[in-house]
């Protein structure tokens, strides 16, 4: 015991309670929970997204009832009674009527990994899994036996695939081009009739021109027909015969096979090859099977095009508005009110912008543009050109949505420029605009860029308004492509974020589509994270610059 009278009165319990350790732990728990949530979600997306295309081994499962199933185990869980069960991707939808099946551990008698088990990705019908037995060409048997047939397949398949690809390119690209030409000629006729009457010389000329175009198109189509027929004939008859695990025999045309591999036999390098090839298809090709397989190139392209156009639209207007508010507008309650209003608009739900975009841009603005400039299309087939959702309207809507973000960021960047610099500039005799252009804007540029990039990140991930103003589940005609006039602001487009919603929630085979959704999500999150990191990096640079330039 101390002799100090103050110390004697000290209560140990009160001292302990004053530290509020229990409460601190609760607050710490909340922070840890928030961290765990973000790390958990990101980790899950990354692990699932990265693993999707990795070729995993497939197993031959023998069941107690004598059934044999070939499949890839995709999940496990425990039933309430404690027995384990596994979800197996059994594929072969046309034979079994299902893509996935659950098996109780008790049902399974043996699992093996046969070396010749083959996974086939097909153009349609989902995956196929079986054992190759023969390579066929018409009635002729080219190779028999698993090894031989597989080797033969590896040899022939690239040729078949190349021919298929060329035919596909003709069908999609060249024919589409011809149809567009024909439609343009037809619209020219309608235009002439509308403006000058059906019997006028202009109308007659347009009609004659249309006839010429039609004849030319027909000739070219015939040529394309010949070419595709030739290509298809080359692929005709090539087929790979498989035996499925239950023993059924199935012949798959080689042209329908996108890719096939024998996962149990692959070396690490080969595995990597399959992985890279699937990523390549994912990033560079069109989607297949209601977007649940294949690539997402149109969506990537659509996302990029939309985001860039949005940035082009939002940057000048955002900077103008911020310059006005910060440098020109007189300081008063009015400006303060406007500033609060703009701040608030950043918090208005995105779907409200979507409704506005549909009602104002598409219907009012687009409808008027159609009436004025695209009457022929409206009259000829009743199709609106700008009067419906499209790239331009989507970009404009998102530009409006992100405008407050850019204005606020720009204003902050402008106000971060020290007044001493402005005053110095004025003292040297520079005019206001000269000061802004030479002194203020260059200093504020990194801040403006940060705001813009954050706006782009928000725009790239926003989907609710886009559902109303022009995003489609399938739009293979790219909004920016090689045909004149290169940018097609009226076209509907695909978007990565919308694809997540569409594939994840509206797909007929949602279980098989799930890995695809994870990959798309991974891609989208990666893009957005990249943009965010860029913004943070620029912000860091901006700060350093100010630290060194402060005077």
């Amino acid at each position: 015991m101390s002799s100090d009278p103050l110390r004697r009165r000290r209560s140990t319990h009160a001292a302990l309670a004053a530290h509020g350790e229990a409460w601190v732990w609760l607050t710490g728990g909340c922070l840890a929970l928030a961290m765990a949530m973000i790390i958990g979600v990101l980790g899950y997306i990354v692990s699932e997204g990265v693993a999707t295309f990795w070729p995993r081994p497939i197993e031959l499962i023998e069941l107690t009832d004598g059934r044999k199933v070939l499949g890839e185990e995709t999940g496990r869980d425990t039933a309430p009674d404690g027995t384990g069960r596994r979800l197996v991707r059994t594929a072969n939808f046309e034979l079994t009527g299902k893509h996935f099946e659950w098996f109780d551990d008790g049902e399974v008698t043996a699992t093996t990994r046969p070396a010749e088990a083959t996974v086939v990705e097909r153009l349609e019908g989902g995956r196929f899994q079986g054992f190759p037995t023969r390579l066929l060409h018409g009635d002729e048997v080219v190779a028999t036996g698993g090894e031989e047939a597989w080797r033969g397949f590896r040899e022939k398949h690239p040729d078949v695939r190349r021919r298929w690809r060329e035919a596909w390119r003709i069908d999609k690209g060249d024919r589409g081009e011809l149809q567009r030409k024909l439609r343009a000629a037809r619209l020219a006729v309608v235009q002439a009739e509308l403006s000058a009457g059906a019997d006028s010389p202009a109308g007659a000329a347009a009609a004659a021109a249309e006839k010429a175009v039609a004849a030319e198109v027909e000739a070219q189509e015939r040529r394309l027909d010949e070419r595709t027929a030739e290509l298809r004939a080359g692929n005709e008859g090539w087929g790979l015969e498989f035996t499925t695990a239950p023993g059924e025999s199935v012949v798959l045309p080689l042209a329908d096979i996108v890719r096939a591999w024998q996962p149990n036999k692959l070396s690490f390098a080969e595995r990597l090859g399959v992985y890279a090839s699937r990523w390549g298809e994912f990033l560079g090709d069109d989607p297949r099977e209601a977007n649940s397989a294949g690539g997402v190139f149109p969506a990537i392209w659509g996302t990029i095009a939309m985001t860039l156009i949005m940035a082009l639209l939002v940057a000048p207007f955002g900077v103008l508005a911020a310059l006005y508010l910060r440098e020109y507008a007189s300081r008063g309650p009015m400006t303060a009110a406007v500033r609060i209003a703009i701040n608030n608009l950043a918090g208005v739900p995105s779907i409200v912008y979507g409704a506005f975009g549909l009602g104002f841009f598409c219907y009012v603005l687009g409808g008027s543009i159609d009436e004025l400039l695209f009457r022929p299309a409206l009259v000829a087939d009743g199709q609106p050109t700008f009067g419906t959702g499209g790239l331009l309207w989507a970009s404009l809507t998102l530009a409006l949505l992100t405008l407050p973000v850019v204005i606020v960021a720009t204003e902050e960047a402008l106000s971060a420029v020290p007044n001493s610099m402005r005053e110095g500039s004025y003292a040297c005799g520079a005019s206001k605009w000269q000061t802004i252009r030479r002194i203020v804007l260059p200093r504020a540029l990194p801040g403006i860029m940060t705001g813009l990039i954050l706006a782009m990140a928000r725009g790239a991930g926003e989907v609710a308004p886009l559902m109303l103003v022009g995003v489609k589940k399938l739009a293979l005609d790219l909004p920016i492509d090689g045909t004149f006039p290169f940018v097609h602001p009226e076209r509907e487009f695909m978007h990565l974020a919308y694809l997540i919603y569409d594939v994840g929630f509206q797909s007929p085979n949602s279980q098989a589509a799930k890995p695809m959704v994870f990959t798309i999500t991974f891609l989208l999150v990666a893009i957005i994270a990249l943009l965010n990191v860029a913004a943070i990096w620029i912000r860091g640079r901006l700060r350093r610059r100010y630290v060194s330039q402060q005077f």
């Binding site: 140990t12 302990l16 909340c30 739900p349 009602g359 929630f505 999500t521």
Partner: protein
């Protein structure tokens, strides 16, 4: 000294170069214009939303009228029986009038009431002469006529209009003015627009063989088109009813068409055949042809099921008149409801609905769902006639005083009212009404004249009443709040806003209940107890969560978290209680450490909590879940939620645990701690920590005891938690949405709250610590009160985000506009309704405008929330500046 002399000796230009001046002016102009323009454009959004939504509440308007006197063209006279039909062509500019008493078919130009065509019927052998009853199916030319000898037959009556290609327009037709018509061979040519002409052909022809099963004079007939052929019904003066279905089949070999008639005759009931027989009976078929309604003039109604047309079954008798005689009956558009007018001027809307006390064998009962009182309550006049719109649930009613009203059967409102009897209108009370095909013209006729009005009904199905109050929709057992907008053309759209508003509030409420405490507590820890170098790393990570697109969060919530939680519901629910408990236990164990070790490890508290506390808590909830399930929910939580087995006790215990915990904490701090404070003077710290652990254990036991006691009490008075906050579990529900939404809301609230907490001036903190307060006391008593307004504004901004969040709700809430507050049921929000329904809503339709009203609601709500937050934050900033 010479003032112009320069210091350097060189003469300097003292004027600004014109180029610079010009550039400056131009820049000012461009920036001012562009800036103001941009800001105005953004702010105009609200104005536009308002402009689209506002017409919903515009009241109906009626235009000028045009009168045609039939006396001048040989009308039937006021006394002749009104066997007439009225209608318009598709454009609503030309009316047709079939007057069987006078034997004439007329076309009238509605612009000025001029008679375009007036033609006797007889010549074509139309087979309609001498008809005593006539009914034309609204919206088509299908008709049925009955005769004095008891025969009745189908017919086509009305006009058919076709557009004329420009090449075929005759020279005289080109000369007519827009909106005018010219008679031609069998009808008229109408110039409906500058470059559009339509040919209007009059059709009046009987079709098929007459049915002769009835013997008395036919008093009423009805017809409805079914896929095989029309279904017709007729009643004669003796009260006998004949209903039959005609189906035409073409013989594949001979090509001959054979018409088959299936039907039955319902003999007159004894009492009908007697005294009341002189009074006419109103007969109506339902649009789908499954029901037949017969209403005698004294108000006794009978409903027959005619699903099998040759075997009509009497379902029930009902009172249609409410004491007064029934004078007019019409089938409302959609074909499920009847509007009945009586001699007291009252119009009632009847339909069948499932009722508990129904006597009919199909379990349905006829109910008078809507009652429209007489136009003039002081002097009620007999309803003379009713007419339904061919495209909406609007119908017109006329009374003997000549007042014509437009009524809406869904909304139960009087849309507009106009007087038909006046010097320049009709002489007598209207006997017949009709509404134009486009619902823009209203026609009324007595025996001697026809008057027409142009009108604009606006959006009669939308009113504050239908949006926000329960409405009795057709075939519903009672008035409900409902949102149901997609359906076929005759579907009765239900624009009840309340389910969506409830869904929005529910999503916001549950999300905020979860996210707000987590975010604010996390902000307190990160701003007060975290080392700055840790903090600078952790904050961006949480901010990154804010930039995750909501579609990703929705997908995670809907497709990953939802199935996971569905399988492990009990552990998740247990986790809400067990994890905090574990953390508190951890803190008390931590206190047992020697003071020195505690000080040295203080910086590592977060990793210890995160890597040890949380996992242990999760593990504990997983292991304790089966026990909890057995103790409280009879072993199966899902079955308990479905209402199978178990008493309401379990739910109440869980609901009362938080309250009980607060009570227990209060008891500890008020009673136990003061006592301990006195006792513990001079105790070694370890002993104090042990005692504190014991007190904590006691508090937990007390909490559980209190909760169980409260729950037992509520259970004893037979209250069940199920049906309120808890209910049947669906995979996508409010709890999943709350999880998903918290990913979006937590970082938002966290960032702003953290900024607010850490921007409290440092001298306050230093002073408090210097005066001997612990960091916890400083945080709670000094920093938190100073930052309250900042934290409040953070919550408001989080609220704004949660209210309008679309994708998460769309993907994780199941999108069913159900109205309840259960944590485990699905719902739909305003934003999700906009996202899914707006692309399909026709521009300018009431559905479209109602969705814009939803958008406007969200806009104003978030705008107000954010403004309040901004103002509070501004005040906070000023105050913390002053501190």
């Amino acid at each position: 000294m010479n003032p112009d002399a320069s210091f350097t000796g060189r003469a300097r230009r003292r004027t600004t170069r014109p180029g610079v001046r010009f550039g400056d002016t131009l820049a000012r102009a461009v920036i001012t214009l562009g800036g103001i323009g941009t800001i105005a454009a953004v702010l105009l959004m609200g104005v536009f939303l308002l402009a689209v939504a506002l017409p919903l509440f515009r009241s109906a308007s009626i235009g000028g009228h045009a009168t045609t006197s039939l006396d001048a063209v040989g009308g039937g006279g006021a006394d002749a029986p009104a066997v007439m039909a009225l209608g318009t062509d598709d454009t609503g500019e030309i009316a047709w009038n079939l007057d069987l008493a006078a034997g004439r078919m007329r076309l009238l130009d509605l612009a000025d009431g001029a008679v375009v065509l007036d033609r006797p019927l007889g010549e074509a052998g139309s087979g309609l002469d001498g008809a005593t009853a006539l009914r034309v199916h609204p919206g088509s030319t299908l008709a049925v006529v009955g005769f004095a000898d008891g025969a009745f037959r189908t017919a086509t009556v009305g006009v058919e209009s076709t557009f004329i290609p420009e090449a075929e327009i005759a020279a005289d037709a080109r000369a007519i003015a827009v909106g005018k018509a010219l008679p031609d061979a069998n009808g008229a040519v109408l110039r409906s627009a500058v470059d559009r002409w339509a040919r209007i052909r009059v059709v009046t022809a009987a079709a098929g063989e007459p049915a002769r099963e009835l013997s008395g004079r036919i008093v009423d007939v009805d017809v409805t088109p079914l896929t095989g052929g029309p279904l017709v019904a007729a009643v004669d003066g003796t009260g006998a009813i004949r209903v039959e279905r005609r189906s035409t089949k073409r013989n594949m070999l001979t090509g001959k068409e054979v018409t088959k008639r299936d039907g039955a005759t319902i003999p007159a009931e004894a009492e009908v055949a007697g005294a009341a027989a002189a009074k006419a009976i109103h007969l109506r078929l339902s649009e789908l042809g499954d029901q037949l309604w017969a209403i005698s003039a004294d108000g006794r109604g009978r409903r027959y099921s005619i699903r099998e047309v040759d075997k009509p079954v009497l379902m029930e008798s009902f009172d249609a008149g409410g004491g007064a005689d029934v004078t007019a009956v019409v089938r409302v558009f959609g074909g499920n409801a009847l509007a009945v007018g009586d001699a007291a001027g009252v119009v009632r809307v009847f339909f069948t609905s499932r009722q508990a006390d129904a006597t009919a064998e199909d379990g349905l009962a006829v109910v008078a769902a809507k009652t429209f009182p007489a136009a003039d309550a002081a002097r009620p006049e007999r309803v003379t006639t009713l007419a339904a719109s061919p495209r909406s649930r609007l119908f017109a009613a006329a009374d003997a005083a000549g007042t014509v009203r437009l009524l809406h059967s869904t909304a139960g409102t009087t849309v507009l009212s106009v007087n038909a009897v006046a010097a320049d209108r009709l002489a007598g009370a209207p006997r017949l009404l009709a509404m134009g095909a486009r619902e823009t013209t209203l026609l009324a006729a007595d025996g001697r004249g026809i008057v027409s009005w142009g009108f604009d009904a606006g959006y009669p199905e939308i009113s504050p009443g239908t949006l926000f109050r329960p409405v009795w929709y057709e075939n519903y057992p009672g008035a409900v709040h409902a949102w149901e907008t997609t359906g076929h053309q005759t579907f009765e759209s239900k624009f009840g806003f309340i389910p969506l508003v409830v869904g929005t509030i529910k999503a916001t409420l549950y999300a905020m209940l979860f996210a707000t405490p987590v975010a604010i507590l996390a902000a307190i820890f990160s701003s007060q107890f975290l080392h700055p170098s840790w903090r600078s790393r952790i904050k961006p990570v949480i901010e990154m969560m804010a930039s995750l697109p909501s579609v990703v969060l929705g997908f995670m919530a809907g497709l990953v978290i939802a199935p996971l939680v569905e399988r492990g519901l009990a552990p998740v629910i247990a986790g809400f209680f067990v994890v905090p408990l574990t953390l508190l236990l951890g803190a008390h164990l931590w206190q047992l450490l020697p003071t020195g070790a505690r000080m040295r490890l203080a910086a590592w508290r977060l990793p210890i909590i995160g890597c040890l506390g949380l996992p242990v808590g999760c593990l504990a909830s997983v292991t304790s879940a089966p026990l909890l399930e057995r103790l409280l929910f009879g072993g199966d939580l899902r079955a308990w939620l479905d209402g199978r087995g178990g008493s309401g006790l379990g739910g109440w215990v869980l609901a009362f645990l938080p309250v009980a915990a607060i009570a227990a904490t209060m008891i500890c701090s008020r009673l136990v701690n003061p006592w301990l404070r006195g006792v513990s003077i001079g105790w070694p710290p370890r002993r104090a920590a042990l005692v504190s652990l014991a007190v904590f254990g006691g508090g937990v036991v007390l909490t559980v005891a209190l909760a169980v006691a409260a729950a037992t009490f509520l259970d004893a008075i037979r209250l069940d938690a199920r049906g309120g906050l808890l209910g049947s579990y669906v995979q996508r529900n409010a709890m999943i949405v709350a999880f998903g939404m918290s990913f979006a809301v937590i970082p938002l609230i966290f960032t702003i709250a953290d900024d607010a907490l850490s921007s409290v001036p440092d001298h306050l903190r230093s002073a408090s610590l210097g005066a001997g307060a612990t960091p916890w006391q400083t945080a709670i008593r000094v920093i938190l009160p100073a930052a309250t307004s900042g934290i409040f504004s953070a919550v408001m901004i989080g609220l704004g985000r949660a209210v309008g969040e679309t994708m998460i709700v769309l993907m994780a809430a199941g999108n069913t506009p159900i109205m309840d507050w259960s944590l485990f049921s699905g719902f739909q929000t305003l934003s999700a309704a906009i996202a899914t329904e707006l692309p399909e809503a026709a521009r300018g339709s009431s559905h479209y405008r109602v969705l814009f009203l939803a958008a406007l609601t969200l806009f104003s709500l978030t705008f107000v929330l954010n403004t309040v937050a901004e103002i509070i934050r501004e005040r906070f900033r000023r105050r913390s500046h002053e501190l």
